[in-house]
């Protein structure tokens, strides 16, 4: 008999009421290499099992107190099935052997036995124990793999529904539950899961198709479904295992944002097209009239028309310029060179720039910007000069265009906490609250008989709002129809980090 160092990690418990027997067995097993514990009876064995894990237990059948069978049953029912039990008994009959197995023991050893008999039976038990360990490892690996797949499926942002071959749901992940608005429970029917509403009817049809003969392993049907306020894309396809249909898979994806973005884009393109076509239509129409010869005797009228054509063509050019600017701005491609600028200077230069236009419109322009003595830099902000000019050029020229003859345009600057506040107040036609709500949207123009002669691209205020947004600034409007409008710009004095980089 040799010592096997590989056995040292295996723990053996010997349960016997005879001390000589216990000691004898301990010596043999220890010599073989096992680590051995001893118990003088069933109760002692049960106590040891409470705080120890044994790989093999050699249990005497006949003991005072708990019998060997009782100990075996205790081990099997309280342990995790990891202990291999060998019954040691003086009964050497077939019935006894059967009895031993029935009680959950692995093997039995007949008294009296030689050390070799003992080693032989324990080696068999070791082999069994090693098989059990392998199986445990395999099962736990399988388990963790399965739970990992399950975690992935549960974590997916797509909804997944798997139907078995009877089209009964057998897997529904949380996202699918959310999309379908139903909690999955085992055994529920497809109708219970998907519902019978009209909007989900195509999904039922697709399931029928996937289960039918027309669907091949590679085929998938893609549907767009409206579910509550969501738009869901559903991909339905058969699932095959070893060449035959094993179920149906349904993958659900929220495409609401995509669809809305698509609609926005469509709306934007049609707005652009409309805005581009309108001035062209007017110009072409005018030129057509001249061509017909209807005005051949009215040269002053022809001259007037050509002036209007020029103005409309220039408006169109402005529109294209503004569109390109907004497009560049939104793509983050506008160059910014940030520097400290006194808003008073920017505004005064824009007022100067618009002087002729103001005189022609008969509007008196005034600027009120007294910096407090304590802080000569009260109106200094960090920004790109072009951006500030764009903002105030738009606001001031609106203040002139939407004004009334003999009107006023008053610009005042003040400093409140961390912001410079610029107020641009006109005494013009004003607007309704409905107009104010939409004012900063692209292409929103107030269209009524008072504004029909005023040209504009419909992009000015949208641009102002976006440019101010670059600096965490904002703009507000108040207005009374017939009395005038006040646009208030709030510009943070501390330049935000995003505005500090030279490109954006």
């Amino acid at each position: 008999m040799t010592t096997d160092p590989g056995l040292a990690s295996l723990r053996v418990l010997v349960v016997d009421d005879e001390e000589g027997m216990r000691e004898g067995m301990r010596r043999v097993l220890a010599k073989r290499g096992f680590s051995v514990d001893l118990a003088e009876g069933g109760d002692a064995a049960v106590r040891l099992f409470e705080s120890n894990l044994y790989d093999i237990a050699l249990v005497d059948l006949k003991m005072p107190g708990k019998s060997g069978f009782e100990v075996t049953e205790h081990i099997n029912s309280h342990g995790s099935g990891r202990t291999v039990v060998v019954i040691v008994s003086a009964l050497a009959t077939v019935e006894a052997a059967v009895d031993v197995t029935r009680h959950g023991a692995f093997d039995f050893l007949v008294k009296p036995f030689t050390p070799d008999d003992l080693v032989e039976v324990v080696d068999r038990a070791v082999a069994q124990r090693r098989l059990l360990i392998e199986r445990e490892t395999y099962l736990s690996e399988l388990d963790s793999e399965r739970s990992q797949s399950r975690r992935i499926i549960n974590w997916m942002q797509q909804g997944l529904v798997v139907l078995n071959i009877e089209k009964r749901p057998c897997l529904v992940n949380p996202k699918a539950e959310f999309f379908l608005g139903v909690r999955y429970r085992h055994g529920m029917s497809l109708e219970e899961l998907i519902g019978c509403g009209e909007e989900l009817h195509p999904l039922h049809e697709a399931v029928q198709w996937a289960a039918g003969p027309e669907a091949s392993p590679e085929s998938t049907r893609v549907l767009i479904l409206k579910v509550r306020e969501l738009v869901i894309e559903a991909r339905v396809g058969p699932s095959y295992r070893e060449g035959s249909l094993s179920g149906i898979m349904i993958l659900l994806r929220d495409v609401t944002e995509e669809i809305l973005a698509e609609q926005d884009k469509k709306r934007f393109v049609s707005m652009v097209a409309h805005e581009l076509k309108s001035p062209l239509a007017a110009v072409i129409n005018y030129l057509n009239v001249i061509q017909t010869g209807a005005l051949d005797d009215d040269f002053p009228k022809i001259k007037e028309i050509l002036t209007r054509c020029k103005i409309r063509a220039e408006d169109l050019l402005d529109l294209v310029r503004d569109l390109l600017y907004l497009n560049q701005h939104d793509a983050g491609k506008t160059q910014k060179s940030i520097e400290p600028l006194d808003l008073r200077d920017v505004i005064k230069s824009q007022v100067e720039f618009l002087r002729v236009q103001a005189e022609r419109a008969g509007v008196a322009v005034s600027v009120e910007a007294e910096a407090p003595d304590s802080d000569p830099r009260a109106f200094t902000v960090c920004a790109d000069r072009g951006d500030l000019e764009r903002v105030f050029m738009n606001l001031l020229s609106n203040g002139l265009k939407y004004n009334l003859p003999n009107g006023r345009l008053h610009i005042s600057l003040s400093r409140v906490a961390g912001e410079v506040v610029a107020r641009v107040a006109d005494s013009g036609i004003g607007m309704r609250s409905e107009d104010m709500e939409n004012l900063f949207q692209q292409f929103y123009r107030i269209r009524n008989s008072k504004t029909s002669a005023i040209s504009g691209t419909g992009l000015g205020l949208a641009t102002v709002k976006r440019v101010l947004g670059d600096y965490n600034g904002r703009i507000a409007v108040e207005s009374i129809p017939g009395e005038g409008s006040v646009f208030t710009v709030y510009f943070p004095v501390e330049a935000p980090e995003t505005a500090e980089s030279s490109t954006r």
């Binding site: 469509k266 393109v269 049609s270 097209a273 409309h274 076509k277 309108s278 062209l280 239509a281 007017a282 110009v283 072409i284 129409n285 005018y286 057509n288 009239v289 017909t292 209807a294 005005l295 009228k301 028309i305 209007r308 409309r312 269209r447 009524n448 008989s449 029909s452 002669a453």
Partner: protein
């Protein structure tokens, strides 16, 4: 001579079409908004109306047409709707679709700018060559 009312918020287009139709001998009234259009319909009693689709709102033209149709005196006046809205992006409507025809209530929808000889032809189809 027949009277034509043009409703359009683009004053240049309005002016150009007025000049052209006057040169053909029509009596022309113009309106720059939905509101003005309704006033003119009552005052001018037109034999035909040319109306723009997008004025104050994207559907002002339809609202205007509905109001014209709802007045018994003008319920039968032919209306030609003009729009610069592009059909290519599915933004506008067509009178050839039965479902659209039901609620649009105009006789025809044309896309701006329409060549003036074509406009003349269309108007003559409704008013006859006078």
């Amino acid at each position: 001579m027949a009277r034509i009312l043009i409703v359009d918020d683009d004053t240049d287009l309005l002016d150009g079409q007025r000049l052209f139709l006057e040169s053909l001998g029509y009596e022309v009234a113009t309106a720059k908004s939905l509101e003005e259009g309704i006033e003119r319909v009552e005052a001018a009693a037109p034999d035909l109306i040319l109306a723009d689709l997008m004025m104050e709102h994207y559907d002002s033209g339809f609202v205007f047409c509905k109001k014209v149709r709802d007045r018994p005196e003008t319920a039968k006046v032919p209306i030609i709707m003009q729009t610069a809205a592009p059909r290519e992006v599915g933004f506008t409507f067509s009178t050839s679709e039965e479902s659209d025809k039901k609620w649009i209530q105009v006789n025809e929808v044309i896309t701006k700018p329409i060549p003036l000889p074509d406009l003349e032809g269309k108007i003559k189809r409704y008013l006859g060559s006078t």
